[in-house]
Amino acid sequence: MLSPGFVLFLSAAYLGLLFAVARFGDARADAGKSIISANVYALSLAVYCTSWTFYGSVGRATSGGLSFLTIYIGPTLMLLCVGVIVKMIRISKAQRITSIADFIASRYGKSQLLAGLVTVIAVVGVVPYIALQLKAVSASLQILFQTSGGEFLPGMIDSTFIIAALLALFTILFGTRHLDATERHEGMVAAIAFESVVKLAAFLAVGLFVTYGMFGGLSDLFQRAAAAPELARLLQMDSSRAGTWTALILLSGLAIIFLPRQFQIIVVENVDEAHLKRAVWLFPLYLVAINIFVLPLALGGLLHFQGQDFNPDTFVLTLPLARGAESLALLVFIGGLSAATGMVIVETIALSTMVCNDLVMPWLLHARWLGVGERKDLSGVLLGIRRAAIILILLLGYIYFRAAGEAYALVGIGLISFAAVAQFAPAMFGGMYWKQGTRAGAVAGLLGGFAVWTYTLLLPSFAKSGWIANGFVEQGLWGIHTLKAQALFGLSGLDEISHSLWWSLLTNIGLYVLVSLYSKPDAVEAGQAERFVDIFRHGARDTDARLWRGTASVDELVSLLERFLGPFRANQQLAAYAAAQGVSDWHALPADAGFVRFAEAQLSGAIGSASARVMVASVAREEDLGLEEVLDILDEATQVRAYSRELESKSRELEAATAELREANERLRELDRMKDDFISTVTHELRTPLTSIRALSEMLHDDPKMDLVDRKRFLGIIVNEAERLTRLINQILDMAKLESGRAEWTTSAVDIGEVARDAMVSLGQLFREKGVTLEGEIPENGPVVLADRDRLTQVMINLLSNAVKFVPGETGLVQVRVMSNDIEVRVEVVDNGPGLTLEECNVIFEKFRQGGNTMTNKPQGTGLGLPISRQIVEYFGGNLWVESRPGAGAKFIFTVPLPASEE
């Protein structure tokens, strides 16, 4: 049973839960263990979905079909422009920006006028939106109370007022914890993310309940709607509204970053730029999820309440109640409460910062008679102002809600609000990407756009509510038809939002560009323009220091900081700054440009950049640099940056060249060493046969009486050694030719089988002498490769003569196998000799390395045959290697690729 008391108790309990979540978030933040993860950040963006989404989307869908989706497609597309958002975040962190008013003011020379103007536009545009949230809460409470049959609370206490008061309390507790408005409110963000989950869950629950509980699923619902003529219209896209569709996408795309609450959440509360990577898809996914059941709910409501008196804006509540699902209705109510409170809390924080820093502070600082200028510690006053602003804004919202009631001025405020903040777009985008944009241009654009918005959208909404005469809408101002508020200069056929957006943005952009082009920025503006537009390039802040010249005293600046930040926080920040500068005690800091900037940045965080500039200027005597000089410094800085980039790239090139040279040098040295090794080995190898020839010749020469048998034997050895010497020299020459690439090759089609057979025949005698069996497994018409026939024969003979050298006599067996597959020919020479160790398998292919133990056995070859063979085979694109184990014979294998087939 839903008694009013129970519903109110539940609301209070839910708000209590929010307090607990926020408390937890703040406690974790204080402990240095932030709970703001990428997911929490993405969910907190969903503060975009207010009660206007939660209740109002269904209402919009009952009249406009799917057109309500534009409000969510725009943000999806805008978020994909991550570069813009990252730039906003970077600038805001570097400049310690606390609100969108501060952002615009800071860009255009820290102008108090601009800050105030933006604040006024934001307050006028957004306070009614806050009122709408309160109205939604009030309306949902009323519906629940109606079902319970009960009356309002005894004593006629207004429950909406209680909720507004609780929200003010929450916002004060969690929104003004720190004086420094650039400090994040992690507890508040956590609570907002939590609320986002609650409202999504509630909306999905009621969507599923209606679609699958009350109707037979999506297709059943659509079928029944299609059968009803007045509903079928909602299912079709209406291409006559194409202009409106696009305009609304543009409008909502701008709103997602320029609504004060969105700026607060996306930019000010951002912990880590990397979180954007998640938000860029998770938040749009959230939007898809919360919108899937909007149209089904609208159709379900229209079908169910056909012929009855109903309000489509409350379908999400009345549909479950109509089926008696009271607990679901309660969940929906809590979801709606989440949507409303989330928006109210963040918007109020954002607006109160703006009101305090950009409206109240300048006035207080100017009003000397108040004595504020002399008071010692202003930090308490500042917090007081901000809290008062929160209460004031909520009170304004509440009063507007009470005064407007069911008036159109309240119901239609959602998009009107969006159109108001869209006026910030030219000054924001221009400020971030166009250095020439000036303060005068921004002021003119904002004023013009705001005026057109007021005339074409805000005032007509008052007129529709019957608050003012509607003559200017119906007949035009002073009866001039071209001035009709919603068909300006005869522009008709658009809906009022597109009409207003078109004219206001035209005026805004036109004035901004035109006035900017014909006005000169002052020195501060030019400096700020540079810092904003080139934020990604301003790594070092060297120019910052040079852009300020004057005299200041540390004591005066410190006392300024103490007055606005409070002594404790001021000391903390000073100590941190001193540590960063490498100075142990901040009293020793010089009052240089860097320190002045630091002080100004700290003050900016507390009272906004415009007021901070005024305060710093009041204690530091700044020399006016003049525009020319500032531009010179900036130019110089740009040039220096360009030069240093050039230098960097040159030095990188140099480094690369040096590394290459070093590598080449290494290679040369290695080659040189190899050459030395080769020469010493060659001389050694040549000396061995020479020595034996010489020794034997000397013996023959010295001993004429040597008998014939010995003489013959010696001469035989001499001949053999001389042959060996010739062979060696030939092979060395061969090797040198191969290595230097000067060898002559005659490539032709060669039948490998034939080569193998020829080699076996020519060495047949040698095998027979030693009694070694030679077997061949060679196809009749062997595979044909493109190679040099003589060279291949050389390889074959080398492998065979190696084999016959190492196999034992009589029992020796050498087999030759030739086979081929699709890509290559494989030739194997297998022996049953003593085999090779793994190490030997590798070294025998090195020059002058021979198989067998060279210490005990007389070398049997030149040690160049295998290296040469390998060179030859590799020249033809093949491989030569050996597979062997000690005691198991050796298998020499070489491959030669087959010529690529013609097809």
């Binding site: 297709s219 079709q236 990577k277 998640r278």
Partner: protein, 64 residues
């Protein structure tokens, strides 16, 4: 000079792609219904979700 962040550029390209896909005149193409659900409803949510899925793939890609 540092090359502009490729991930940001890919995402922005997706955003630019989304504009023609989710506005007229392409929106007037899907007509009729599929399995009892209006084609325009399926098209809007389908393209929208697809864009988000692509964005998620681009944004969450590990590596450089």
């Amino acid at each position: 000079m540092k090359r502009a962040n490729p991930m940001r550029q890919r995402l922005a390209a997706l955003g630019l792609l989304g504009i023609p896909l989710l506005t007229y005149p392409l929106l007037s193409l899907p007509t009729g219904e599929i399995a009892g659900i209006p084609a325009s409803y399926l098209y809007l949510f389908g393209v929208w979700t697809l864009l988000i899925a692509l964005a998620a793939m681009v944004a969450e890609r590990r590596g450089k």
